[in-house]
């Protein structure tokens, strides 16, 4: 495949509302994960201890990117997405419209967009009546509300797509984006993910035993929220318009394993296959990779599968490894933030330390960074894994 240039990034994360705060937080070893008060959960008699960890966005002011009268129509996730989209376009030099008249679009992945409006609407419906249910909430219950508001607020008339595919959705979003950019149907695309934390969903996941602490052990998922969007365009077109290329997405592949849809399905052969396909599409081999952004998310069996896949593909090599989910949590947005961190790290030639637990003893090729370190030679591999057996890999150079 032809390389896709990343020329802008916007990120709203539990570590802050800018990419600079994201990197500074990771470099300093800070965590954006904190305990939240969950009165409904306590009332429901759930074991509250340990299931109150959340990667919440706490330092975000929507009025920086939207007038208040417009912002109030948008749900929380849509506000994140619009703010991140505007930041990405600003960095890419698109503010002021140098690509006006061209086909620009957006593809967002999500695990939870619309959950706030959904629960608010249904609560009113259940407590009162259909006639009392708030009409303004309903349009924002659809998962594509954030992408739609991005298109509306930025005037993007190309595709406005939303993919809902658990935590690995960024891989499928990149595949879909490459197909639309590859044959010129789009001049540029914002690709990323958005999530919104919701206490009712937290309760549901806790009841299923999916969250850190809920099952009594040290492992488990922490729900994250935020948005990260990357502006991608064909490299030759980016260079022709004089844009600064932060890094290039060289290849991407996605695959899956069959099994129960609502479980984590650790499967190292599938992840190894996906890594090899992504390398192949990049025109690279294992020896061309120098660093990796791990998918590791605190699910012990998944981390073991990831370790095994990397040991198999990169036997005899050493990869500087980083990973962000220990600092921000997991969900679709974590994949987009992982890609953002890979691109930003390449642009500044410095990898942030690995923010993860010690659940898994990483095998020989994987060298988790204890502190920020100079980017080693070679491409950066970014791994994505989601429940239901979804895996993806991207090669960034």
């Amino acid at each position: 495949m032809k390389p896709l240039a990343v020329t802008g990034i916007g990120a709203i994360s539990p570590l802050g509302a800018t990419t600079a705060e994201l990197l500074a937080g990771l470099d300093a070893g800070r965590s954006g994960i904190a305990e939240v008060e969950l009165p409904a959960q306590r009332a429901a008699g759930c074991r509250a201890a340990g299931t109150r960890w959340v990667g919440r966005v706490t330092d975000f002011d929507a009025s920086a990117s939207l007038p208040p009268m417009r912002a109030r129509r948008l749900d929380r996730g849509s506000r994140f997405a619009v703010a991140a989209a505007k930041a990405a376009c600003r960095q890419a030099g698109l503010a002021g419209g140098p690509l006006a008249g061209e086909t620009l679009g957006v593809i967002l992945g999500t695990s939870s967009a619309g959950s706030g409006p959904l629960t608010a609407f249904l609560e009113c419906l259940f407590r009162h009546s259909p006639e009392a249910a708030p009409p303004f909430e309903f349009p924002n219950t659809v998962a594509n509300a954030p992408a739609s508001y991005v298109s509306i607020e930025l005037g993007l008339k190309g595709p406005s797509l939303t993919l809902a595919q658990s935590e690995a959705v960024l891989g499928t979003a990149l595949v879909a984006g490459r197909l639309l950019l590859g044959d010129g149907r789009c001049r540029a695309l914002l690709i990323g993910a958005v999530d919104e934390w919701n206490p009712v969903f937290q309760l549901g996941f806790a009841q299923l035993g999916a969250l850190r602490g809920a099952a009594g052990g040290g492992g488990g998922m922490v729900l994250a929220e935020g948005a990260a969007l990357l502006l991608l365009e064909a490299e030759e077109l980016a260079l022709a318009r004089g844009a600064r290329v932060l890094a290039r997405v060289l290849g991407v592949a996605a695959g899956s394993v069959a099994g129960e849809p609502y479980l984590w399905l650790p499967d190292s052969p599938t992840l190894a296959r996906v890594i090899r396909e992504a390398l192949d599409r990049s025109g690279m081999g294992a020896a061309d990779v120098g660093s990796v952004v791990l998918a590791a998310n605190g699910i012990e069996a998944m981390e073991r599968a990831e370790a095994a896949a990397l040991a198999e593909v990169f036997a005899g090599r050493r990869l500087a490894a980083t990973g962000i989910k220990g600092a921000i949590g997991e969900r679709a947005v974590a994949g987009a933030l992982s890609l953002a961190v890979a691109v930003l790290s390449r642009a500044r030639r410095l990898l942030p330390p690995y923010a993860g637990g010690a659940l898994c003893r990483w095998p020989e090729p994987v060298q988790p960074l204890a502190a920020a370190a100079e980017l080693p030679p070679g491409a950066t591999l970014v791994l994505f894994a989601g429940f239901g057996g979804n895996y993806a890999a991207a090669v960034v150079g």
């Binding site: 349009p139 659809v142 509300a145 992408a147 993007l156 406005s160 797509l161 899956s256």
Partner: protein, 408 residues
């Protein structure tokens, strides 16, 4: 291995709709102008503005599901998708044992999947202060039918779930064809599944977009939509592969347009400019002239503003010929199946191209000067259709359109 010029065909179709379980039951209903919209039996609709929907009676699904499927751990939307996928694969004649599993992809449109069940869990939390059983929420999420279908097929290729509201499964079919053209899969099972829920029933109720009576697309007296549910599943392959194995093809997926209105979250862009842009993108991608189009399977929701905007878009694309171009909305029969609407309508359009019969717009009696279209009123029409459009216009302005043409 694909290439930009590779032609993609539809080799298998499966359906679950209010008109019946199965492709032929659905098609028979469409051709006969049958009405699937009736009093809702899934929950009490008494307090809503309409009591009607085109809903699927679960009992009819029994014989259509894959053998041994775990009924207790699937939602209604999962079961619609599984039944339709099983039928589509059988119809395609594919021997799955001969398809490398990592080259088998599943791309579906999804939305309220598992929501009706999850609503029970949440209602208990809201009203009693304690949540329902975990089993009620495990299948909640737009992507769950995709996973269930992929697991049933043993597929390990790309899985993707498109969630662009009412255009979800139209986009999914377009993406499926893209994957095949790019050589990223050999067989793609695509389409979509969606089921009714209190959220969607209550949401359109709150927006005052429902007709208390069964809907009347493009009729001057139309008052809004009737919701529906179901699944449409299509098996897509590259034409060369299909021909090599001697498979019959219903039609080609010649082109796909996907655009944004960039206008408003719920209101359609009223001049038809945005809708026309989508149809023109699909025609350009399919390298078709507007003059070649024989039939349009319209989005035709039957809300006053949507049908008006759609008619305006058709006039922008086809000029005065829009008034003579057969354009029907099957939503008067199967309801608005939301995230499955595009799949059910694409399936109907595949059969129109393959069989030369255009399903009618039923319940149409009052011409609307703002929608001066040939809506194929009330009776199916036999005529050869070599090139057809199937279009979807969604909340948020996410528009999509497929160009389906005769397979050689």
């Amino acid at each position: 291995m694909g290439g930009a010029e590779a032609s993609v065909v539809v080799t298998g179709l499966g359906a679950v709709t209010a008109l019946g379980v199965g492709r032929e039951a659905t098609w028979r209903g469409l051709v006969e102008g049958a009405n699937g919209i009736r009093r809702l039996g899934l929950f009490d609709p008494g307090a809503y503005r309409t009591h009607n929907a085109a809903w699927v009676d679960d009992r009819a699904l029994a014989g259509a599901l894959p053998a041994g499927h775990p009924r207790r751990t699937t939602s209604r939307a999962d079961r619609f998708a599984l039944a339709a996928a099983r039928e589509a694969i059988e119809d395609s004649g594919l021997d799955l044992a001969r398809v490398p599993r990592q080259r088998l992809a599943v791309v579906l449109g999804g939305g309220a999947a598992g929501l009706l069940e999850a609503e029970g869990w949440f209602a208990r939390l809201v009203l009693d202060g304690r949540p329902g059983r975990p089993r009620e929420i495990v299948n909640h999420g737009p992507d769950l039918p995709t996973h269930h279908v992929a697991s049933f097929l043993g597929a390990t290729g790309i899985r993707s779930t498109v969630a662009t509201a009412c255009s979800s499964s139209t986009v999914a079919i377009g993406q499926a064809a893209d994957l095949l053209r790019a050589g990223l899969a050999d067989v793609v099972v695509t389409g979509g599944s969606d089921s009714l829920a209190r959220l969607t029933f209550g949401g359109f109720n709150a927006l005052r977009l429902v007709d208390p009576e069964p809907c009347r697309p493009f009729d001057r007296e139309r008052k809004g939509l009737s919701l529906g549910e179901g699944a449409g599943i299509l098996v897509l392959e590259r034409e060369a592969d299909a021909r090599r194995r001697g498979a019959r093809a219903y039609c080609r997926v010649a082109g796909y347009g996907v655009t944004s209105d960039a206008f408003h979250m719920t209101a359609p862009e009223p001049t038809g400019e945005a809708g026309a842009r989508c149809l023109q993108a699909a025609l350009a991608h399919g390298r078709c002239d507007a003059d070649e189009v024989d039939y349009v399977n319209a989005h035709g929701t039957a809300t006053p503003q949507n049908d008006r905007a759609e008619a305006a878009a058709l006039y922008r694309v086809f000029g005065a010929r829009a008034g003579r171009l057969p354009t029907s909305s099957i939503k008067a029969m199967v309801g608005h199946c939301l995230c499955a609407a595009g799949a059910v309508e694409a399936l109907a359009t595949c059969l129109t191209v393959a069989r030369g019969v255009i399903p009618p717009t039923i319940r149409w009696s009052n011409p609307d000067p703002e929608c001066p279209l040939d809506v194929v009123p009330n009776r199916a029409r036999e005529m050869p259709v070599a090139t057809a459009l199937s279009s979807s216009f969604a909340f948020g302005g996410a528009s999509a359109c497929l160009v389906l043409t005769t397979a050689s």
